[in-house]
């Protein structure tokens, strides 16, 4: 009987596989769609400037981004005072799903003790934003010490908002080892970041951008200090990419509005559908890294 009907059995198996395999793929895809549907439509890009910079630090970057991005982003600026009270300026447009929010601090001085405090203040402001705007995912951008504040926040304080996930994180010229030029990192700031690194979200995709004027520095932050970031993030998060930008306008304070960096921000942080020209330029930078 088996011999006579072998082709029927074969057909049965082929049909079974032809149903089960796509069914399995569909259910996985469906689960992913549902997961994405659970995310709020609003996902702000939250920016933290470096030390000694005000909440207006990113103005020229925002203008630069505004020139080319297809959608206009509205901008909200927050300043957190030393007692945790917050003053707002600017406002979010009603139908803007990807607004820019800049968080600055009244005490924006350099130094580990200040940065630790600033991370706590960032947490206060962040929770306030979540409460007001009810988003459950966001992108983060930190310039210079702003990147340190973000990293501390992600390691230690994001857990306090358990339903919130971070989509992308980008730091620009962030000195993970402060002003030390050493390749064997040791500063207390670095040690703190390293100690709490297990707290980083596993699913995080992050980009660290370094600018160089010469072989060693962008004039303010030593390249080796930016490069030290990889020891903190490696094996903790999903993707860590380091990009080095050189050429015109690569001094520390020019970096945020540097054209190449604007291109990187657009493609990798905002995940915009950038023109091929920008894409090619970004790829050259990534390749230069290898």
């Amino acid at each position: 009987m088996l011999k006579r009907n072998w082709w029927q059995w074969l057909l049965g198996v082929v049909i079974l596989v032809g149903v089960c395999w796509p069914a399995y793929n569909w259910t996985r895809a469906n689960i992913k769609t549902l997961k994405d549907a659970g995310r709020t439509r609003m996902a702000p890009v939250i920016m933290v400037p470096g030390s000694s910079a005000s909440q207006n630090r990113f103005d020229s970057l925002i203008t630069e981004l505004g020139k080319e991005t297809p959608q206009k982003h509205s901008v909200l600026k927050l300043t957190v005072a030393t007692d945790g009270s917050i003053t707002y300026s600017g406002h979010l447009k009603q139908n803007d799903n990807e607004p820019f929010i800049v968080i600055g601090f009244a005490n924006n001085k350099d130094g580990k003790a200040n940065i630790d405090k600033q991370a706590v203040w960032l947490n206060i402001a962040f929770k306030e934003l979540v409460k007001t705007y009810r988003f459950n995912h966001f992108r983060a951008l930190g310039h210079s010490n702003g990147g340190l504040i973000w990293t501390l926040f992600l390691e230690r304080y994001l857990k306090q908002s358990p339903k919130i996930t971070i989509d992308r994180f980008m730091t620009i010229a962030t000195p993970y080892n402060m002003e030390s030029t050493s390749t064997t990192p040791k500063t207390s700031m670095y040690q703190e970041l390293y100690k709490y690194r297990a707290g980083l979200p596993n699913s995080l995709t992050m980009y660290s951008i370094a600018g160089t004027e010469n072989y060693t520095s962008d004039g303010t932050v030593p390249y080796n200090s930016v490069n030290a970031g990889k020891y903190i993030f490696q094996n903790q998060i999903k993707h860590f990419t380091e990009v080095t930008v050189t050429g015109a306008n690569t001094t520390h304070s020019d970096l945020p509005q540097n054209k190449q960096i604007v291109g990187l921000i657009r493609e990798y942080l905002l995940e915009e559908d950038v023109p091929n020209k920008v894409r090619r330029q970004n790829q050259q930078q990534l390749r230069g890294e290898d």
Binding site: A23, Y24, W26, N30, I31, L34
Partner: protein
Amino acid sequence: MRTIKSLLLGLQCFDQTMARQRYFRAIRDTLTLLFPFVLIGAYINVLNQAIFQKNGFFNHIYYLSHWVPGFEDLASYTGMLSVSVNGVLAVIAAFAVANLVVRPTNHDDLMAGLTASLSFVMLNFNFALFSKDGRTATSQFLEGNLGMQGIFLALLVGLLTGWLFSKLARRPHVHQLIETRTHLLARAQANLLPISVTLVIFGALGYGVSYLSNGGVNGLFYQLFRYPFGHVGQVMLLIFSATLLSNFFWLIGIIGPISFSGNNSVRTVQNLEYALQHGSAWGAPNPITMHTIFDAFANVGGPGMTLALIIAILWRSRNHDFRLVAKTSLLPSLFNFNQPLLVGLPIMYSPILAVPFLLAPMASMGITWVALKLQFMPPVAYPIYRTMPGFLMGWLGTGGDWHALLVSVINLTVATAIYLPFILINNQAELGGDHDAEA
């Protein structure tokens, strides 16, 4: 073993005795008479609901709506077929029962059938039409009650009409191969009394019920029968008894107070939320619900695990009728449409098939419950749809957990084993009369 066997034989005897009883026989014959229509309806349902509908299984897995030309047109066309073929089955059933009840007597069976159909439709009049805000009523009849859902009421109406005709018709009916006007008018005269009495009785009944329920007599039935299922919750005993009751309702023709509870209950949504947040169904807050136990694991081939019945028949049955029905019903049953089996074998109003029809889902639910309690598999938390092949539901609903697939296969095997003795006993009855008691 011996006691079980004598029990089965006793059941078989009871089954055959019942089948000889006039009214009961009329019901069973009606169901079998409906078989071709129900079968075609089931194939249309497969086309319409599994292929050309947003939540259809094949549309999901092959993304049909994206590439099949004229998908929308095909959806409307098969939808039309489905509604028209399946939507008025009960009217035919009412006709057939009254007809078959009266036929063995020497009264007018055709008139009885026609009267029963009219009476049944009358019971499903939409009284909302006469209410103050009557403009909101969109139709004159409650169409929802005229399909498979209305079978139970249709059978009752048919039986009562048949009884009235055999009591009230004045003259015996003589069948003529070629009708004449004179004879037809004589038929009208002879049956005027039973026709009017029947229509008046059912008219009054329908009107009376309109004060109790705005869904007609059928709506009243469903309100009553759905009542026990309101608060099933997470207690296994309640889920068990609710399923038992529901499957019993299917047996007598009250289709689906809880056929497939769907993805929308609060507990199911909580499970889904949890699974989406944690990336897995493990540890979902409500592991034991109607949805995770019954929908996903005890509904393979439709209520009563009827795919197992088909397997048992195709494997061991020597009853030619059974094999014919099982073969033709296999495809719809893969997508959980078991109505052809219900009326074709029939399972409805069959004492002998009723027992495994009630037992098999219980066994599946028991096995599933143990598997969940022992943490052998995660609960079904991701959405599953009515037309998914039953034995894949656990697997797909857990996001592709192989343990769940294994449990489904075990359930199907056990259910087949439960159906098998009843098929074997039927074989003996088929082979030869009374001496099988010694066999």
